[in-house]
């Protein structure tokens, strides 16, 4: 059950409720509102009242989002300029920039992708195509669903104990990438499984009929069909990794850096952690700097999600 921030569109994918039913939504005729003679004015009025109330729920949610976006933009746009992106953090708000954090994020994201993609896709292929219908398989599946729901800070604790300390990787980019890999692995597996499941069985049957063995069917038929869905899902999972602060806080700690990482063994910081740092500073100038950082973070997330949605739309197969 995926219930951290849902990358756009994937909350539905992993809901246990949706998984069990696939009925179309109600599209019948809208009932007349209040024309029947037996409807008392009270009931009519109550219907209208609650319609407004329910609509208000949606409106409040959207208003909240608008307030957030406006708050961030008004505070941050002034501080957002090229030198902000290009500078390192500083004790002076006017000179602070996200260069170190931005490149740290890029390094961590690439490192996470390098580990999570092969392991996650391989697991999905195994579970969907090769695994026997055995209690062990169901247990593994259940385990993955559970892992998706574990709070991200627990992964931070695991990463700290295992990668930073037990494996002596220190607070390096490598330790951070491995921790993030474990965090998004369940998501990658689940979306890859969905993409593989979407390939119709006729394709597989045809390949088997031509004498292919199971791996050949996967390699030559299923995977090529599923790749757009897998890629789109992976990008969404990575965008989740970009926004996660809690495990990175524990791995990288709050550190002032004057450099960008040049090797996997270097110390690093990431966008959300840098923003967290600035948010905590009480000098008024840093509020603007934190907002500018947030704008950059949201822009990065927006671009990643756009690419993922584009891939999904462009390559969506209708069988």
């Amino acid at each position: 059950m995926e219930h951290h921030q849902a990358p756009l569109g994937s909350a539905r994918v992993t809901s246990p409720i949706a998984a069990s039913v696939t009925r179309p939504r109600y599209s019948g005729p809208t009932p007349p509102s209040g024309s029947a003679a037996t409807r008392s004015p009270w009931r009519r009025w109550r219907d209208r009242f609650f319609f407004l109330l329910f609509f208000a729920s949606v409106a409040i949610g959207i208003l909240g989002l608008a307030a957030l976006v406006i708050d961030v933009l008004t505070d941050g746009l002034g501080a957002l300029d090229f030198s902000f992106i290009n500078s390192y953090p500083s004790r002076h708000p006017g000179e602070s920039g996200i260069r170190a954090a931005l490149f740290g994020t890029i390094w961590i994201t690439l490192g996470t992708a390098a580990f999570a993609i092969p392991i996650g896709v391989a697991t999905a292929i195994y579970l969907e195509e090769f695994a026997p219908d055995h209690w062990a398989t169901r247990l593994v599946q259940l385990n993955i669903a559970n892992l998706a729901g574990v709070p991200s800070i627990i992964y931070g604790i695991l990463g700290l104990a295992l990668f930073v300390q037990a494996l002596s990787l220190d607070r390096s980019v490598l330790a951070g990438s491995l921790t993030m890999t474990l965090l998004i692995l369940p998501i990658v597996i689940i979306v890859s499984q969905e993409a593989i499941k979407a390939v119709p069985n006729e394709f597989r049957d045809a390949a088997f009929a031509l004498g292919a063995n199971r791996w050949q069917v996967v390699k030559m038929v299923v995977l090529p069909q599923a790749i757009p869905g897998i890629m789109s899902g992976i990008i969404l999972a990575l965008s989740r990794a970009v926004g996660e602060a809690a495990p990175m806080l524990m791995i990288s700690s709050l550190v002032f850096l004057t450099f960008i990482p040049t090797s996997p063994g270097d110390r690093f910081t990431v966008l959300p952690v840098q923003i967290f740092n600035w948010v905590s500073l009480p000098q008024p100038g840093f509020q603007a700097v934190a907002s500018a950082g947030i704008i950059v973070l949201l822009a990065v997330l927006l671009s990643m999600n756009s690419v993922a949605i584009w891939i999904r739309n462009r390559y969506q197969k209708r069988y």
């Binding site: 290009n86 450099f259 822009a299």
Partner: protein, 320 residues
């Protein structure tokens, strides 16, 4: 135009922009040099001394852009724990190193030198809308902060104060500020009541005190001067009148017992590297200016010279 093309264009532009940045070195500063120095310097420790070390690292980068400096904020105690096992090259400390820490270092074969970098006047802070508290005696501070203290209302401290409850803010036990305060006021290290907002992050304390009318807290003077609009400085009376911390009172010793020196400890093995020596020299050369800018009180010049002597002595050793 179909949304997906817009989305794709947006996505690719942003990604391309970011990649382009990576290939572009920032324009460091007027002092842009071709300094050949490289290497990594790992610094950690006191959050009180952090602003100074951060300032030094920032300015140092403008002169030696290829040296990678990382400054952490684990607290004086936390910093020493890393320092004595050789994980860091320089340790920021807002109190002197303890004998137990010295032993630990000896056990691990770590040799170090101690260099004083400035003075801090540990400040007692209240909320600006607090109209009745101007000056507090050390006895009152002790009564408020001692372990198991029964005081919860302002009127418990002094009968003429209002009846409201006060809320306390201060550093947590890993902080050298905590060690120093408890030693100076309670005369017993680590002896403090525990029902207060304890944070190693001084900014949390600043915000907390600034947002709470009934707040009372303590932290380094630089943090007061970083946000004076949010905070009210309280004078301290240790028997000879109410004294506010200032450059003068700290230097001539009248702001007592809360005036304290701040140190950096440098691993002598690290001094075999040229960039570390350069860094410490840079620190001492620029201390007067940067310490003042950050909000603390710089040492008299002779003491910085002493630090230089100490440094040179330590560099001399391995080659002799």
């Amino acid at each position: 135009m179909p949304t997906r093309y817009v989305a794709l264009a947006l996505g690719i532009t942003l990604i391309a922009g970011i990649v382009a940045l990576g290939l572009n070195e920032p324009d460091t500063s007027i002092l842009a040099t071709d300094s050949p120095l490289t290497g990594t310097i790992e610094i950690d420790g006191s959050s009180t001394v952090f602003p100074i070390s951060q300032a030094v690292a920032e300015e140092f980068r403008k002169v030696h852009p290829a040296v990678q400096v990382a400054v952490g904020v684990s607290g004086t105690g936390g910093g020493f724990k890393r320092f004595v096992v050789g994980e860091t090259h320089i340790s920021n400390a807002s109190r002197a190193i303890k004998p137990s820490e010295i032993d630990k270092a000896a056990e691990n074969g770590i040799e170090f030198i101690e260099i004083a970098v400035g003075f801090d006047g540990l400040s007692i802070i209240a909320n600006p809308s607090n109209g009745f508290l101007e000056c507090v005696t050390t006895q009152e501070l002790r009564a408020i902060w001692e372990p198991g203290s029964d005081l919860h209302r302002w009127s418990d401290v002094r009968p003429e104060f209002p009846d409201g409850k006060f809320r306390l803010y201060g550093p947590d036990t890993d902080s050298g500020t905590f060690d120093y305060f408890t030693e100076a006021i309670m005369e017993h290290e680590d002896a403090s009541r525990s029902d207060y907002t304890a944070s190693a992050d001084d900014n949390v304390l600043i915000r907390g005190v600034g947002g709470d009318k009934n707040a009372l807290g303590y932290f380094g003077f630089a943090f007061y001067s970083s946000a004076p609009h949010l905070l009210k400085l309280i004078a301290v009376d240790s028997g000879s009148g109410c004294i506010y911390p200032s450059a003068e009172t700290i230097n001539n010793g009248t702001y007592s017992p809360l005036a304290r020196p701040m140190f950096i400890y440098v691993n002598t093995a690290a001094l075999e590297r040229v960039e570390v020596v350069e860094f410490v020299n840079f620190y001492l050369d620029n201390a007067t200016q940067l310490v003042t800018e950050v909000g603390y009180v710089p040492l008299p010049v002779e003491l910085y010279d002493e630090g230089r002597t100490e440094l040179n002595g330590a560099i001399g050793e391995p080659t002799s």
